[in-house]
């Protein structure tokens, strides 16, 4: 596993593909005279294009399509030390939080207040600043004001709490103030009715045709076929430009995995990626499975405790809690599985053996009899994977590794 330094391109209009449907929905909302819903929440996995869509709305769509609209884009979380989706030149009404930086509500308000040229009383307190913004927005009834909070779920939730308590809850009561929130992983539990009742949509992956369009717009000639790029990247737009430069499938998978883990700080990246690799064969897992699979995959791992492993994985926002267990985000899981299959076949087999044995043990547990058919279906699933990998009889899987189970 060689880590390569990779940095996706910044947003440029001529490279932007699609999202017409999402843009149309947002414009329809903004054009309503008395919109009941004034909040939009967009979620999607890493690499699906949330930040590019935010930039596209801020820099292109809003300027071109609606007059009398003021918008701000705050990207609240850094997608890695080297990636600057906004480019190198700072633009008006935008603030991108960099790695290690913390955005405070005072700075947030200062950007808004300054952009509107609002006069504040001397030494204003927070409530006065918010009140001044509200009065400004309220007095410009024919205008529209849109706040884009990009990567909100991944950000510092204490900032979100401050924003909703002091700012959003106040401004969203006005008919001409809108908020667009994007995020991935664990959704923030809003307390504002306007955000609870927000229009929600997930950004979908690209089709093969759209990946082709991307290649054309990026002016890239790929060694891999468009179909390969689509299959490896699963239609996630962020991968296309990197997969285009990959020399073969193995290289492409490594590049894609590196790109996904660019969101993790450099010092932890290698270790965290190992945790993900260890757990990617499972559809969902808990602390017990985390400890077991990591111990099998990386006996020298620093963390032996399942809870610590889960916490560290959780911090990346590449895993979320779903239906009673932790689930690795779809593109990460998919890419790592392919990567292990091709690159680390022995590890892939031993991890799937471990999964098979784990379900077998549960299936044999008399206290879990009522779930037996589920466990058996899982055993069958892993037996199938093992068979594809050349292990015809899963009963040949070593049993001793099960004894390592915490």
């Amino acid at each position: 596993m060689v880590e390569t330094f990779i940095s996706p391109s910044p947003y440029v209009l001529k490279k932007f593909v699609n999202r017409e449907e999402e843009v149309k929905q947002i414009l329809t909302l903004l054009r309503q005279s008395q919109p009941r819903v004034r909040a939009v929440v967009i979620d999607g996995d890493r690499g699906v294009g949330k930040t590019w869509l935010s930039l596209h709305l801020q820099r292109t769509v809003f300027k071109k399509e609606i007059t009398g609209l003021t918008s701000w884009l705050f990207s609240l979380w850094s997608p890695g030390e080297h990636y600057r989706p906004e480019g190198d030149k700072p633009q008006e009404n935008e603030r991108f939080v960099r790695e290690g930086e913390k955005l405070e509500i005072d700075e947030f308000l200062a950007i808004i207040v300054n952009s509107l040229s609002i006069e504040l009383p001397p030494n204003p307190v927070l409530a006065e600043k918010v009140d001044a913004v509200r009065r400004y927005v309220q007095s410009h009834v024919d205008n529209r004001f849109v706040l884009i909070l990009d990567s909100a779920y991944e950000s510092n939730w204490s900032l979100l709490e401050q924003l909703e308590t002091h700012f959003l809850g106040n401004l969203l009561t006005l008919n001409n103030f809108f908020v667009i929130v994007t995020g991935r992983g664990r959704p923030y539990p809003w307390k504002i009715p306007f955000l609870i009742e927000a229009v929600r949509f997930g950004l979908g992956k690209f089709s093969v045709e759209q990946i082709q369009q991307q290649l054309e717009r990026f002016k890239l000639s790929a060694i891999l076929s468009v179909d390969d790029i689509y299959n490896i990247g699963d239609g996630w737009p962020i991968f296309t430009e990197f997969l285009a430069s990959a020399k073969d499938r193995i290289d492409a998978l490594d590049v894609a995995a590196n790109l996904l883990f660019a969101v993790v700080s450099a010092q932890d990246r290698l270790q965290i990626r190992k945790y993900f690799e260890a757990l990617c064969p499972l559809e969902g897992f808990g602390e017990t499975e985390a400890a077991l699979m990591v111990a099998i995959y990386d006996p020298n791992a620093l963390d032996k405790d399942g809870r610590d492993i889960c916490r560290k994985m959780n911090k990346t926002h590449l895993v979320s809690w779903k239906d009673g267990g932790y689930v690795i985000n779809h593109p990460v899981k998919r890419i790592l599985r392919e990567y292990l299959k091709l690159n680390k076949q022995d590890d892939w087999i031993s991890l799937n053996c471990a999964a098979y044995r784990r379900f077998q043990r549960q299936s044999d547990d008399p206290s879990l009899t009522r779930f037996r058919s589920f466990f058996e279906s899982q055993m069958k699933f892993y037996a199938g994977i093992l068979s594809e990998s050349g292990v015809q009889d899963p009963e040949t899987c070593p049993k001793e590794k099960m004894e390592e189970m915490p």
Binding site: T165, L171, T173, R307, W321
Partner: protein, 396 residues
């Protein structure tokens, strides 16, 4: 209990601490039942029915706090009309009887809104400030005492003494709060203007101040506590009779953007309908019903909010196999009411901590034995209320 489990399991706060909704500062993070909330939140008169412990008060508090999130915006102004507060003056036979109490609660609501959000008061014209101050002094006895409490302890402490439902668990800017206090104290020292208005006129003037002069979008009157009032709780017919004059006015009040929201016991429904035949269709209506899935979700949301989304099930920190839906299994064992579910979960955590405290080297996970002990406790210690609650929940 030291609540070591908070740290063991990575909880930022205890989401099961408060059985009484008004005390829970995080209540609005874990809403269950959007349909009921829509009724409480929409600009229509509404009737929200449930059995005792079914979440009426939680929803009322939720709606109240939703009005105040981001305080000072173009929100509805919420006023609690909590009947047990008027135990000593429990005559509810005429509209005027109700208005008397509503005006009193509005005085508290205004006073506390100025304390939590000083700009509402400070942005008002000096003459309105004076009128508002004098109104508050007239209707809130011992206001000088509450101003002192405000100075020493802040709005939460004043609300705790006047009516806990008004607690917002927020701290205003000290400089602005001080300015409000000083202005109120200045007016307190002045000779009060004589008031000779009927209660109806006082009510109308108040509503005008709120919806026009102070710039609120509407007024939400949140009526609750019928089942906390012994005389009314004993006789649903009598309770309906006591409320009919108030609810009969609700459709008319909508013209002045006053929306009455009744959080009422289920048993009163038929009696009220019989007496409000003409007005009945004007009310949005919803019944708070709890099933196992909703009760399980109630716990999951709380776990999610308290762990900042790291996980949404106690199963994540228990030895129960992940294939088992821990919350759903617990929900199947309790009486189908939120309070019951919270009581059981608290006991599980208590049992965990007790066991772990005896053997601090043990794994920091809820074990099956903790759950079993809690269930035993629930079956034995809660048996005396189990039967009663089950029959209430089932509407018998």
């Amino acid at each position: 209990m030291q609540k070591l489990w908070l740290n063991h399991f990575g909880f930022r706060f205890d989401p099961f601490e408060y059985l009484e909704a008004s005390q829970d500062p995080h209540l609005n993070r874990y809403l269950i039942g959007h349909e009921a909330f829509s009724a409480a939140w929409s600009e229509t008169p509404a009737l929200i029915f449930s059995p005792p412990g079914g979440g009426k008060t939680a929803l009322r508090i939720y709606a109240f706090r939703a009005c105040w999130t981001g305080g000072g915006g173009y929100q509805p102004f919420p006023i609690h009309y909590h009947l047990p507060h008027y135990f000593e003056n429990s005559n509810f036979s005429t509209l005027e009887d109700h208005l008397q109490k509503i005006v009193h609660s509005t005085a508290i609501a205004l006073f506390l809104s100025f304390a939590y959000y000083p700009l509402i008061f400070l942005k008002a014209s000096p003459s309105l400030q004076k009128q508002l101050a004098q109104f508050i002094f007239t209707w809130v006895p011992n206001i000088d005492y509450y101003l002192e409490v405000l100075r020493d302890g802040g709005p939460d402490r004043v609300a705790a003494q006047l009516d806990r439902s008004y607690q917002l668990h927020q701290t205003p800017d000290p400089a602005l709060l001080s300015l409000v206090r000083v202005t109120l104290e200045k007016h307190l020292a002045e000779e009060p203007s004589p008031i000779g208005l009927s209660i109806q006129k006082v009510f109308e003037r108040l509503m005008k101040w709120i919806t026009q002069d102070l710039g609120f979008r509407a007024v939400y009157l949140l009526l609750d506590g019928v089942d906390g009032f012994p005389e009314l709780a004993r006789s649903p017919g009598f309770a309906a009779e006591s409320l009919v004059n108030l609810f009969a006015n609700a459709p008319t009040w909508t013209q002045t953007r006053i929306f009455l929201k009744g959080f009422l016991p289920l048993e009163i429904r038929a009696h009220l309908q019989a007496r409000l035949e003409k007005q009945w269709p004007a009310f949005g209506q919803v019944e708070l019903k709890w099933d196992e899935a909703m009760l399980a979700e109630l716990i999951r949301r709380r776990v999610y909010a308290a762990t900042e989304g790291e996980f949404a099930s106690l199963g994540a920190v228990s030895a129960v196999p992940s294939v088992q839906d821990m919350e759903l299994e617990l929900a199947r064992t309790v009486n189908p009411l939120p309070r019951e579910m919270l009581v059981l979960v608290r006991q599980i955590l208590f049992e965990y901590e007790k066991r772990w405290g005896e053997n601090p080297g043990a794994e920091k996970r809820v074990q099956t034995e903790d759950i079993e002990r809690a269930l035993d406790w629930y079956r034995i210690d809660q048996a005396h209320i189990t039967k009663e609650l089950t029959s209430i929940a089932l509407g018998r």
